[in-house]
């Protein structure tokens, strides 16, 4: 049956968004390989250009097209696939497959749904059907009922009393409040949560009914406080069925598993209970007829019986975020096996590539503890309440592996690169308990540490958090271990999972690595010393504690928080002293079998040896179980860590390309990364996969263990760039001979140092917005006054425009400084002239130190003032003349050479009409990978990340014989914004980046490409209906301006204008089909009610252009068929 020549359509999951991150790139890419291994021809559709799966070599035909029935029907018409696998593209892939079936497209072209059947999908998605089915099997489910609308009924038509009656009846049916209210057919649990008040429940039900695809809201018995577990199950057509692993949520039931800290395998469930749930999982997957991977969620509690009691909560009949995590946690490639099972293979006929001697018909055994922690965009959305609930708000996650829970947890927290959004020092014990222990939030793990730091006991913390005692005890042990450092005992802290740099900081030193796990605010002076310059209150406090540490260093012994003096032996022990005193790390294999078979795949994690050992492992001893050839040429590629706003899947794409380029050159490539969702952490991407936190210390350990000749830090976004300086220092301290390849750390630093960069630009004769840096409020005010308002202000060293703002007057500037300094206390702020009405450009280029190859020039759709990461952009530019393009090239080349760039460089430029024609300003230059690299490569066909890796490894562009290409069609990148997931967030665009992901639309005209991109991003313009305008003159022209009239007239050609006294009500009752507004409240309501909107003048004009091309052919085409000219940009 397999080994055939069938054509299989694989549908991706589209853009990265909250609830659907890079995991589907990983599973899709793995499935592509698996299907092609079996001889199938693979046709891939995905709208997300930043993915590995959309690389031309991944499938036989790649379509970067909207995941809509219209576009996919067109692909089906062209490619005539024999089958489609629905279960690999997340909820998006599943929904669109269901729609294609419902619309008859699959029947018309005789496309078989392979693997899990559609009926199963319906049976699991419709919670009522699901409950009935479980009851039929005798499986216990939480009591539940649905509130739904009749066929012809609209929410607007249901009055308040009638709604209340229905809601009350539902609450009675499930045994009273609190209940969980959920909307069916949504992603990541959007619009759901535990509700304990009637009014709130009514409001949720009303919204839910509007948003649900089938007008249903489910009300369920709350099993809050139970242990939440997930089982990953696999079944083949012969009914062989296995459990890949179970996963236990540390946070009790009531918090979405995507928001929970998750541990594999389960820790607190006895074998009886585990086996009962395992049985239930197998019974359910068999009954549903699932073929391939599937995820089943349970709630469990200890009711005094040997096995406890459980409820079946939910089934996901597809690969998922959890299956990606399970795959990385165990080494069992769920997507690969799912794809092969869909083709008809049996589990025992599929090889286990990890051991090389067993098959997929087994249940992995692991001999380590895996911990996953989510990463939340809390720093970006001041107005959103980040209390964790049944709806997801996190954008990504980090995973870690350790031999104890403590080690695993600390590695995971460190990997997440998260800074608590609270200054614990400002809280009294009651606030700490109520706001940060009882209330689940991203800060809760840190609050637990803080509680033990203050002397809370385990019982109190168990009581407040509802977290199982076994876990809480281990949080307490971590804090105890950290306290022992004060007595000169370093080993307990090291064995608990702190790095040597952290132990040194606990001993009173300044912390010098790039990211840290948790260090107590009240102990030590670990924050960097140069913060004192900013002269703010916070910095002064730190200066004071730095003095205290200085005193300790002087031998006078500083006070610990409990009044104990730090002994001289412990005081300020440097990293070298700590390293010599504590057990070193050795590397262990992830082998799927807990050591039972010798594994052949190089997938590793580090673990500290037990306390009887002292000192680092060097040479062969450092290699532990590594199966790498230490004598061959090898390079370590540092990845990007968890996905967050400003640092998305694009950096994983870049890392993977670097690895591929190195391997093509015959150089062994090792990856250090900790994001379980990604292709870079797939076991067969690299020659050595190190699932580790990204710190200088841990990367240096990998370098020593592999005896790598070089390390690449350009590809993993800010995470990898940030370790540059500390890594250079660490390698030097250890005397390790390994080069940081490509552009020097010094040059990267120069590019980020505004003053030095300014001087360089003026030497080169390149224009820049006027500006400078200020280290005090007075300096900033003076500078702003010189430049004239509005000015653009931001801290130096920023990621994704964090804390960047346009300010209009002194007051705003003062306010800003207070906040900004808290964001980045150790760096000055930058104040720049704001270039209004300029066209912004992004240029991605590769330089070998001499030649410069331009990958692409992108023109932003949004005007200056909107963060480049949030602006739609088009390649090639649509409004630049040949002279301007030539100047763009010249500026790019000059900067690349001036920075001695070797590798990638991104330049942000602005073009403004001057007296002598257009003038090109440089806004920013970053000699490293950028988020637009994959978009550029997909649009032009030039693989610039690979070229960069090759030049960094020593080749010249001339050797590689690479050439530039300009596409004939317009490719528009449009962003996806998370406002619908983040209640009360401000939906207006600004200099702070807020988007989570991107899509690409390509067509012969800009208008059509933009329309396709909007459709792909899920905010397509409505077919018709009403348009309503409400503008304030901020981002859109004010009502009364000529520009406003022009825009209004444009839209009125396609829609009927409607005006309302009560716009909010009109939006809520579905009377507005399109909103054109720059008013925060109106936009917020539109977001909540899922009403399409346009919020800036540039977007309005682009939308009008899209509308004018609405009737054009959809122009679906495989990426490789799109015409391109081999021509240089700007020449």
């Amino acid at each position: 049956m397999s080994g055939d020549d069938r054509t299989i359509l694989l549908i991706g999951s589209g853009p990265i968004q909250i609830g659907q991150a890079a995991e589907f790139d990983y599973s899709g890419a793995q499935a592509c390989r698996a299907l092609r291994e079996e001889g199938a021809r693979v046709v891939l559709v995905n709208s997300n250009p930043a993915t590995i799966m959309t690389d031309p070599e991944m499938a036989d035909e790649v379509y970067i097209e909207p995941i809509t029935t219209e576009a996919i029907a067109e692909v089906i018409e062209r490619e005539r696939p024999d089958g489609v696998i629905a279960g690999l593209g997340g909820q998006t892939g599943l929904n669109v497959t269901a729609e294609l079936a419902e619309e008859g497209v699959l029947d018309e072209y005789d496309v078989e749904i392979m693997g899990t059947p559609l009926d199963t999908i319906y049976a699991t998605e419709d919670r009522d059907l699901f409950r009935q089915r479980m009851e039929g099997l005798g499986q216990p489910v939480p009591k539940s009922t649905t509130i739904s609308l009749d066929d012809d009924e609209s929410v607007a038509a249901v009055d308040a009393d009638a709604l209340r009656d229905r809601v009350e009846a539902a609450v009675d049916a499930v045994g009273g409040l609190p209940v969980i209210a959920r909307t069916t057919y949504t992603l990541g649990g959007s619009g759901s949560g535990v509700v304990d008040e009637m009014d709130e429940l009514e409001e949720r039900v009303r919204t839910g009914l509007r948003l649900s695809r089938n007008s249903e809201v489910l009300v369920t018995e709350s099993i809050s406080g139970w242990v939440e577990l997930e089982y990953e199950v696999m079944r083949d057509a012969d009914d062989s069925c296995i459990i890949i692993c179970n996963m236990e949520n540390l946070d009790p039931m009531g918090i979405h598993t995507g928001e929970s800290t998750v541990v594999t395998p389960s820790q607190v469930i006895p074998d009886d209970g585990h086996q009962e749930m395992r049985d239930a999982a197998l019974e359910v997957i068999r009954d549903l007829g699932i073929q391939g991977g599937c995820n089943i969620q349970f709630a469990w509690r200890d009711d005094g019986t040997p096995g406890g009691e459980y409820r079946v909560v939910e089934v996901n009949p597809r690969v998922s975020r959890s299956s990606a995590l399970a795959s990385k946690a165990t080494g069992y490639p769920i997507a690969r096996v799912t794809a092969k099972v869909a083709l008809g293979k049996r589990l025992h006929e599929i090889d286990n590539e990890i051991t090389g001697e067993t098959t997929a018909a087994f249940e992995p055994a692991i001999d380590y503890v895996v911990t996953k922690v989510p990463r939340w965009p809390i720093d970006k959305f001041d107005d959103t309440d980040f209390t964790l609930s049944t709806a997801m708000k996190s954008t990504g996650e980090a995973m870690s592996i350790g031999r104890t829970f403590e080690e695993s947890l600390l590695k995971a927290l460190r990997s997440s690169e998260y800074d608590p959004a609270v200054d614990f020092g400002q809280l009294d014990d009651d606030e700490l308990r109520e706001e940060y222990l009882e209330r689940p939030s991203p800060d809760r793990p840190y609050a637990m540490f803080e509680a033990f730091e203050r002397g809370f006991d385990v019982e109190e913390v168990v009581e407040a958090t509802g977290i199982y005692e076994w876990y809480v005890e281990r949080f307490a042990r971590i804090v105890e271990a950290s306290k022992e450092v004060v007595d000169g005992e370093f080993t307990p802290a090291a064995v608990a999972g702190f790095t040597n740099a952290e132990v040194s900081a606990l001993a009173g030193n300044v912390f010098e690595d790039s990211s840290l796990t948790w260090l107590p605010e009240t102990r030590g002076a670990w924050r960097t010393a140069d913060a004192t310059e900013s002269g703010t209150e916070a910095a002064e406090a730190e200066a004071a504690s730095a003095d205290a540490a200085g005193a300790a260093a002087g031998g006078a012994a500083a006070e610990g928080d409990d009044g104990d003096a730090i002994p001289v032996s412990a005081a300020r022990a440097g990293v070298g002293q700590v390293e010599a005193d504590v057990p070193g790390r050795t590397y262990k294999q992830v082998d799927t079998c807990a050591g039972e078979f010798a594994a052949s795949t190089p997938y590793y994690y580090s673990s500290r040896q037990p306390e009887w050992f002292a000192g680092p492992y060097e040479g062969d001893a450092a290699a532990g179980e590594l199966r790498v050839d230490r004598d061959t040429d090898s390079v370590v590629v540092v990845g990007g860590g968890p996905i967050r706003i400003g640092q998305g899947v694009e950096f994983d794409y870049c890392s993977v390309h670097a690895v591929r380029a190195l391997r093509e050159m015959g150089v062994e490539a090792h990856v250090v990364n900790n994001n379980p969702e990604t292709v870079s952490t797939d076991y067969d991407t690299s020659d050595g996969l190190f699932f580790e936190p990204i710190t200088a210390e841990e990367v240096a350990d990998v370098i020593e263990a592999t005896d790598a000749d070089g390390v690449m830090i350009q590809f993993g976004g800010q995470t990898s760039v940030d370790i540059g300086e500390p890594l250079a220092d660490e390698l030097e301290r250890r005397g390790v001979d390994c080069d940081i390849l490509g552009t020097s750390v010094e040059a990267m630093d120069l590019a980020e140092d505004r003053d030095r960069f300014n001087r360089l630009m003026s030497d080169l004769g390149i224009a820049q917005p006027e500006g400078g840096s200020a280290t005090s409020e007075a300096e900033a005010l003076e500078l702003a006054d010189e430049l004239g308002y509005p000015v653009l202000v931001r801290p130096s060293y920023v990621l994704g425009g964090r804390a960047m703002r346009i300010v209009d007057d002194d007051e705003e500037l003062k306010e800003y400084i207070e906040e900004a300094v808290r964001v980045s206390p150790d760096r000055p702020i930058l104040v720049d002239e704001f270039l209004a009405d300029a066209v912004e450009l992004d240029v991605d280029a590769v330089s070998d130190g001499e030649e410069v190859l331009i990958g692409g020039v992108m023109e932003h759709v949004e005007e200056a003032g909107v963060h480049s990461g949030d602006s739609a952009c088009v390649i090639p530019p649509r409004s630049l003349g040949a002279d301007t393009m030539a100047r763009v090239r010249e500026v790019t080349e000059d900067i690349a050479r001036a920075l001695d760039t070797v590798g990638l460089m991104n330049v942000q430029l602005a073009v403004r009409e001057g007296d002598d024609g257009p003038e090109v300003f440089v806004l920013e230059a970053n000699p490293r990978s950028s988020r637009t690299v994959p978009f550029v490569s997909k649009a032009t066909g030039v693989p610039i990340a690979k070229l960069a890796a090759r030049v960094m490894a020593g080749e010249s562009l001339a050797d590689i014989d690479a050439s530039e290409a300009i596409p004939e069609h317009a490719s528009v990148k449009e962003v996806v914004l998370p406002f619908d997931r983040l209640p009360d967030s401000d939906p207006r665009l600004g200099p702070e980046m807020k988007s989570t992901g991107e899509v690409m639309g390509t067509a012969r005209t800009f208008g059509k490409a933009y329309e396709k991109a909007l459709d792909a991003a899920g905010h397509g313009l409505p077919e018709g209906g009403t348009v309503t305008f409400t503008t304030r003159g901020d981002a859109l022209p004010a009502d009364g301006d000529d520009a406003f009239a022009e825009i209004r007239d444009g839209f009125v050609d396609y829609y009927d204008e409607a005006t309302f006294d009560d716009l909010t009500e009109a939006l809520k009752t579905g009377k507005v089909d399109l909103l054109v507004s720059d008013d925060r409240d109106a936009l917020r309501t539109a977001v909540d009610e899922d009403v399409p909107y346009v919020s800036t003048e540039a977007a309005a004009r682009a939308s009008l252009e899209a509308l004018s091309h609405r009737d054009d052919d959809i122009d679906v085409m495989a990426v490789s068929d799109r015409p391109r000219h081999t021509t240089d940009w700007g020449r």
């Binding site: 012969d238 009914d239 459990i243 009886d272 067993t358 503890v369 009887w612």
Partner: protein
């Protein structure tokens, strides 16, 4: 400072932390199960062995007698990366030495590469590396424990009543409690007989099936049980689990052999040759059936093709190398006990209704 030492036959001595004091020795084996430590530690098949848990954290959900498989701890010692206080206290109360804070993966991979090996342990305040080495020197091979059956079997026969629908003579070579209860749950009265029961003992209970249990060590050391099987072959339906399968195979002219390090865990894949279906099984054995004699192999291990199920042509014999009774481990093969019931009922003369 370390207060426990583990000396291995390959010459290495590992430092560790004592969790339950004492000196002991045994064959070093490992299980890859991460749940079921209470069941494993009370499994008589671990007699004379030092049980290493490859999963690092043991004891997380406490210790409860309802989950025990027998009335005492059987391994001579327990080894894990980290044990909880609960499990350490239990082992100390049972007088079974226990150690943690050592690199158990290193132990596991050594056993994998070099085979199950002798080991000596010294734990507690007075422990020294030399003491562990002395224990090691005194350690016998598993096949040399010729009286191991006596150590684990019941002294006296007794009956577990399950409703009297059929009668099982269970030869206790170190039976797990779950075998008895799985049979009783299906209506059997289970007559548990000592490992050295005689033909008369079996006849006295008027059994419908003769069932040989699991147990520790080398099947060659269970001559009495083998003779029983030979005596009843063709007379009574026969069943066996684990060591029981090995004894039955030997009685039917087969051979058994010692494996390099055996199968111990709850994830061993077994394929039924008839249906093609693969199920996950619990296993705990260091010997296997190399030649099934006149029996047929009906199930095999997917990883190494070892015999997992045997049957006779006339279907009056069925055995399993794995543990269908689970505890710990998957319930995938509980149906085996239904097959045993069906086998018994074929020969059972139903009681006439009053």
């Amino acid at each position: 400072m370390a207060d426990a030492y583990v000396a291995l036959a390959d010459g290495r001595v590992f430092e560790a932390r004592a969790r339950a004091p004492g000196r002991t020795r045994g064959e070093l084996v490992f299980t890859t199960a991460y749940t079921g430590y209470e069941e494993s530690l009370t499994d008589p098949s671990y007699e004379e062995q030092v049980l290493t848990f490859s999963y690092p954290l043991i004891g997380n959900y406490g210790v409860r007698e309802e989950r025990f498989e027998s009335d005492r701890v059987h391994p001579t010692a327990a080894v894990a990366r980290e044990m909880t206080d609960d499990v350490a206290a239990w082992l100390e109360a049972e007088g079974v030495p226990a150690v943690d804070h050592l690199d158990t993966r290193e132990l596991v991979t050594s056993v994998r590469e070099e085979g199950a090996m002798a080991c000596g342990i010294a734990a507690g305040p007075d422990a020294t590396p030399e003491a562990a080495e002395e224990e090691l020197a005194a350690c016998k091979g598993m096949s040399d424990h010729v009286d191991i059956g006596k150590q684990v079997s019941t002294d006296e026969s007794y009956t577990v009543e399950g409703g009297g629908e059929f009668d099982v003579a269970l030869v206790d070579c170190g039976a797990k409690g779950s075998i008895t209860s799985s049979l009783a749950d299906r209506g059997a009265d289970v007559h548990v007989l000592p490992y050295d029961a005689t033909v008369d003992d079996v006849e006295a209970v008027d059994a419908d099936v003769l069932f040989v249990s699991n147990g520790p060590g080398d099947p060659a050391n269970f001559e009495a049980a083998q003779e029983l099987v030979e005596a009843f072959a063709g007379e009574l339906p026969l069943a066996g689990i684990c060591l029981g399968q090995q004894i039955v195979a030997r009685a039917f002219g087969g051979e058994t052999e010692k494996m390099a390090f055996g199968h111990r865990g709850v994830n061993q894949p077994v394929r039924d040759l008839d249906s093609g279906k693969v199920v996950m099984t619990t296993q705990n054995h260091g010997y296997s059936v190399a030649d099934p004699g006149s029996l047929d192999v009906t199930q095999v291990n997917v990883n190494d093709d070892t015999a997992e199920g045997l049957a006779s042509d006339d279907e009056s014999v069925i055995t399993r190398q794995y543990h269908p009774e689970a505890n710990p481990g998957p319930h995938d093969s509980l149906g085996f006990f239904d097959e045993v019931r069906d086998l018994a009922e074929r020969t059972h003369s139903p009681v006439t209704a009053d």
